[in-house]
Assembly symmetry: C2
Homo-oligomer: 342 residues x 2
């Protein structure tokens, strides 16, 4: 193995959408693992919308990436050296290594993967943080009941597709929202949504709302929120009394965008919360990793036997991670975005 590795750092903070100059590809020495540490050669890394938040110097649930710091990411790879009895060279593991070709982490921050249990990329998507996000948010805060109607955007993404499939299995009517006809067809054909609307086909929230209302003849009981903006504005007036809104993301607001949703005002949100007795719950999955074993037990077999479908979009090469990430923020990916590193 070469003693050199590559990493991508945050060169500067973006204003609005990130661009190539915000990232820097650097070569450095492969680190040496210290006591209880494990050195891993990464095979795949994950790209997720939350990473956009880390690029801002704003108070959030996690500290921002410092200028010059390595971009954060979950990644899977093969152990090449270990100072922990828990891991041997050749083991496959998941950890928060960042945008790197090689990484070193304490053994207690690693999760061993069983390569016989499906592709190791599943640990980044359907059986990783996005899948857990959908499963936990839907069950814990969405409280689905058979006969109800659920709406989720980014319906072909790893969170939305998990939410839609689990809700369908629970007997709900599932209506997805996605960007483009191809994604909408995929949502229905592959992920079993009863309907899927292309948000790009609507000039504003009220036009989207009209068709969404037709697709949800009994109103909306659960809106699984991961986008905000125009979709939120379309959904709110259609919510039924006692509706639930788990909030795990709001990609349309990332990068400081105020959105083109000028009619979505604070009073509009607040009034809907009050007059419909809505329950709105923000959450971030890093606080609920204790649910991982229960998730894996529940969903793992369904993925293994094909009852839960998943889709991955794989970019090739660490050097292409920034471009893939910028595309992801614009909805350019088709399924869970992953970067192949070897």
């Amino acid at each position: 193995m070469s003693d050199q590795m590559q990493r991508i750092t945050l060169a500067s903070r973006p204003t609005g959408a990130p661009s190539a100059e915000n990232f820097s590809l650097e070569t450095c020495a492969v680190p040496t693992p210290g006591p209880d540490e494990v050195l891993v050669k990464l095979h795949y890394m994950s790209l997720d919308p939350y990473m956009r938040g880390r690029m801002d110097d704003a108070k959030s649930y996690a500290a921002p990436v410092p200028i010059g710091g390595t971009m954060e990411a979950g990644a899977v790879g093969e152990v090449v050296a270990s100072n922990s009895p828990a891991f041997q060279p050749g083991d496959f593991v998941f950890g928060m290594f960042g945008w790197v070709s090689h990484g070193r982490l304490p053994a207690n921050q690693l999760q061993k993967l069983d390569p016989n249990h499906g592709p190791i990329t599943a640990a980044l998507g359907v059986l990783g943080m996005p899948g857990l996000t959908g499963w936990h948010g839907l069950n814990e805060y969405g409280k689905p009941k058979a006969g109800e109607t659920l709406v989720v955007a980014a319906a072909t993404g790893p969170v939305g597709s998990m939410v839609g499939q689990l809700a369908k299995r629970a007997g709900l009517r599932t209506v997805g929202i996605a960007g483009g006809a191809e994604k909408c067809a995929l949502a229905v054909d592959r992920f079993g949504f009863d309907a899927c609307l292309d948000h790009r086909a609507y000039k504003d929230a009220s036009a989207l709302r009209k068709d969404l209302g037709a697709a949800c003849p009994n109103g909306i009981d659960i809106y699984f929120e991961n986008v905000g903006g125009k979709v939120l504005e379309a959904v709110l007036p259609l919510m039924n009394s006692y509706g639930r809104i788990p909030v795990c993301g709001m990609i349309s607001y990332y990068g400081g965008a105020k959105g083109a949703d000028a009619d979505l005002t604070a009073p509009m949100i607040w009034r809907n919360v009050l007059v419909k007795f809505l329950s709105v719950q923000g959450f971030i999955i890093m606080n609920h990793f204790d649910r991982y074993p229960a998730f894996q037990k529940d969903v793992g077999p369904l993925v293994a036997n094909g009852e839960i479908q998943f889709l991955e979009d794989i970019a090739i090469g660490l050097e292409n991670a920034p471009a893939a990430f910028m595309a992801l923020l614009k909805g350019g990916n088709m399924g869970k975005q992953i970067v192949k590193l070897v």
Copy 2:
């Protein structure tokens, strides 16, 4: 008893703040009670902010008052005729009679009062819907824990003063917000708030936020929402992770006002919900009347022995109800607003 009675109807729908011409004082015949009905001569009626919502022709949790219809209100009075074995002339009762001098209701919609158990006006405030709203919202959705910090506006009103006193008893730091120095002094001296800020003394939300932050050195864990607008905007950035926001009203938005809170945007609300894992729950007490016996059992003795304080602001005469209601919406009352009818 005269066979004539008075009532106040909705003459026209207001735009923004109501004015005198939106109300009409009318004389009509005292109704005759039908089978199982009870005729009551009202002594006191309640004025509450929610009534503003009923004046609009907008979809809400309750139907609007029709033009020409009697304004809604809870009221207490004395039975003068009864076709129900459950009530006798001379009994004192509470019911949703409206803005009327006399009213007729089915017996099963009445609640008998014990005039030996404190003033009958308590059934309109501290031991009525406002008190129940505070008790239920705080305990069920606020989930107070000793050592936490609670903020509530309209701190000397019947909901805010109940919330503040119950939270203080539960070991929380309580910070009120009220309009004017007199109300702030009352909040601290009579209702035991640790601090109370006069929202009128601040030109905008960020000025209010600065002093609110100083009054809440450990942040805010529970914001009991009954006003919206500037206070909400000041509070949101101060909320702690895992904070709870029961939402029972938003008086600053009533009458279609967009508020002077131009910086309180939908993304600001949504971002705070997400990054602090907030729990926001809208509720309206009419859906939780089943909790009344538990509330009465819990709080009734505390009111009787003075451990829970209350304050009433009594206007005289049904004809003065519109003026008192208009003043209430501007915070002109001092304590629970009641109209004495006899």
